[in-house]
Symmetry: C2
Subunit: 185 residues, 2 copies
Amino acid sequence: MSGSRARTRQAIIDAAIDVLGRNPAASLGDIATAADVGRTTLHRYFADRADLLKAVGAEADARLARATAAARLAEGTGASAVQRLCQEYFDLGNVLSVVFNAALGAGDPEHAEPAGCDPEFAAMVERGYRDGTIDPELPADWVQSLIWSQLYAGWAYQGEMGASRHEVLRLILRTVAGAIAVRPA
Amino acid sequence: MSGSRARTRQAIIDAAIDVLGRNPAASLGDIATAADVGRTTLHRYFADRADLLKAVGAEADARLARATAAARLAEGTGASAVQRLCQEYFDLGNVLSVVFNAALGAGDPEHAEPAGCDPEFAAMVERGYRDGTIDPELPADWVQSLIWSQLYAGWAYQGEMGASRHEVLRLILRTVAGAIAVRPA
DNA sequence: CCTGATTGGAACATCGGTGTTCCGTTTCGG
DNA sequence: CCGAAACGGAACACCGATGTTCCAATCAGG
């Protein structure tokens, strides 16, 4: 019954993304309940919390990679590619929160990762410098940080204010576009 | 010896801001250690964790209010006031993280606060609409969200990358300025 | 110097989350 | 239909954080 195992496993991961997105400190019991599964069963699939978080991270990365591919970063001007990337990422919804919270928690144990961002992303920004649609004063790392912070802020804005998904996306795209645009002065 | 009490209390609060800024889930023991104080003493001043968090929040709000006053929101163009506000808030350093994390944690227990932002802040944005330095398409709430997210992103950027305080502030100011600027098109 | 305030440390009980074991029940597949 | 796999729930031990109590040491001021 390997089909059943895979289905249950995925249900747990999906529930975890949902619950942890809302509350990163949620207990395993909460996650199990959300997945309509006993806490015992959850432990049958993931030995400890770290295991589950690892699987959640992998799933999030996979969805992220899919969204990145869908944005076709190599096409059009640099700025237009940034717009598409924002749109695709925004559609990820709750996965955003998970990735974001994971990025925050990773800062503690002395990662000290001066690692540059994704090479495909960097290439997109470089192209933007050359075609005059992205401000050369802004490093690629900073552009990435800008996109993430705006996506997260928009996600929170949608939850706190009574703003529609569509309206928030419009605000995000407009704000990011203005932020990376080459200055007239 | 009421002077001693006030001094100890302040030392604990300062240590709490420092430690909680780095790790919002820090234990009371960690905070006491950082304050060079026994855990017992900490409990003497703050009955439980909630009490301490309340005091920390009050202190953060006070420093925030001082910074807001220093930015003189009523002077100059809307955009220039935003620049001054970013600069003042950036200087708050770790207090930023505390306020930010507090804002996140508050989202759970069904606050449902559609409350608009500070009236003084709203007036500044309104002025920006009229004097043509702030994009009228962006609600005041959104501008506030933008400023906060950029400040936080910049703070994180400074920690993760090896960027100087000054350089990060420059990036923040440039990014925010571009984001709120009226579009040429 | 002495008295009271302040402090730190040890010990203790409590609580929630975690991980494990065990057993009875349900469900799927041959 | 039958056996094995999967499941749920109860019970248990463990751990770290928390809050409380008690006592001895220290400090500050009259």
